[in-house]
Amino acid sequence: MSYFRDVGALARKDLLLELRARDTLPAMLLFVAAVFVIFHFALPGEPSRLETTGFLWVAILFTALLGLGRAFVPEREQRTLDGLVLAPCDRSAIWLAKSLATLAFLAAAEVVALPLYALFFHHVGGATVLAVALADVGICAVGTFLGAMAVVTRARDLLLPLLFLPLAIPIVVGSVGASVAHAPGKYLAFLALYDALFAVVCWGTFEYVVSE
């Protein structure tokens, strides 16, 4: 039980920091809106629903990357990661809390982004919303984990997209499939499987990322 209390405390810390500094969320919102405008001009003529659905997922992925890149920056700048690692809690709680906080930012950005997409391009179906929810879990679980890895390297922000995008290809396949297929159940199940599989791997190996 104390494990979840630790996770809650750590996640609350990140949300509180964001509430006071307002670093990440406004940037994500502005970014996703600008990307939609870019798409309008990048897709000449009347783009079909198939085309814009693909672009929606590109926008979501890149917006998520923006948030993920920021996830461990306060820890680096304030040097709080050492303190977190020394704290008497399970190390995986750090990853879980950070993932939950990033998930909250991404979900908040999508609450604005999806209606905006519907306004600019085509309507958003129920399967797409479900796919967004499932994809968010996978994106945040894997992305936060890789963010913790990237932040200790020399290349830092440069490295996260390189590490993350190959691992995100299955997410894109599952979510685009769920958005455009007539029977999205298979794709949603695949996304859920991806989430479960990678969450377990991240949860089990995060210890080695932060400790030597």
Binding site: V152, T153, L162, L165, P166, V173, V201, Y208, E212
Partner: protein, 238 residues
Amino acid sequence: MSSWAATIGGVISLRRIPLWTLALASLALVTIALVCVFYVAPNDANQGFSQRIFYFHVSIAFTAYACFACGAWGALRHLWKRDPRADLESYVCIHQGIIFGAMVLLTGSIWAKISWGHWWVWSEDELVLFLVLYLFYCAYFMLRFSLDPGPQRANLSAVYALFGVVLVPVSFAAIRLSKEFLHPRVFTLSGPRFGGWILVTYLVAQAAMLVLAYTLYRIEIVGKRLDLRLRELREVVA
């Protein structure tokens, strides 16, 4: 338990084979494989001469997978048993995997050009899977070269290499799934009937590639260890 012990025993005795024996063996095997592929194996009824690239394409792909699997095994040994040699071994395996992986993409591309007239065909599952894996392992190198040598680099590299083990089946499932909305039409090839000289040629080519990969691995690991030792000596002198 006894089969495990036998496997481990086999690996240990594999390490004892001198390098020059390995080099000679790979030279001989590659030569025999080339002779088999070009002179012994029969022409394919459907695809003719161009099908012969398959003997190398498939055996190189299998070898690359074997290298990645060995890399993951080394990563696991590093994280689990804290084996001090495992990190370097894992890295060298993945490096060999990348080299063979590049050859897979190249041979696959040549075959696609001859068969379908395009250098790249998205409908070939194995080729697309390889591209995803290739990107993934290239990122492994970016990660590794962006960290200073030490326990942290070893840990992060090992963890990322283990992600590859999960990514292979997941990507394969994803690519199969993606076909249903990207490529409704699936290319069907009446593949070569396995048997006789075709099987012999394939097995020789496969053995040649595996021995070649192992020889290259040994050469690289000897060089890397020498490099490390030299650096340590330099620090002692300085």
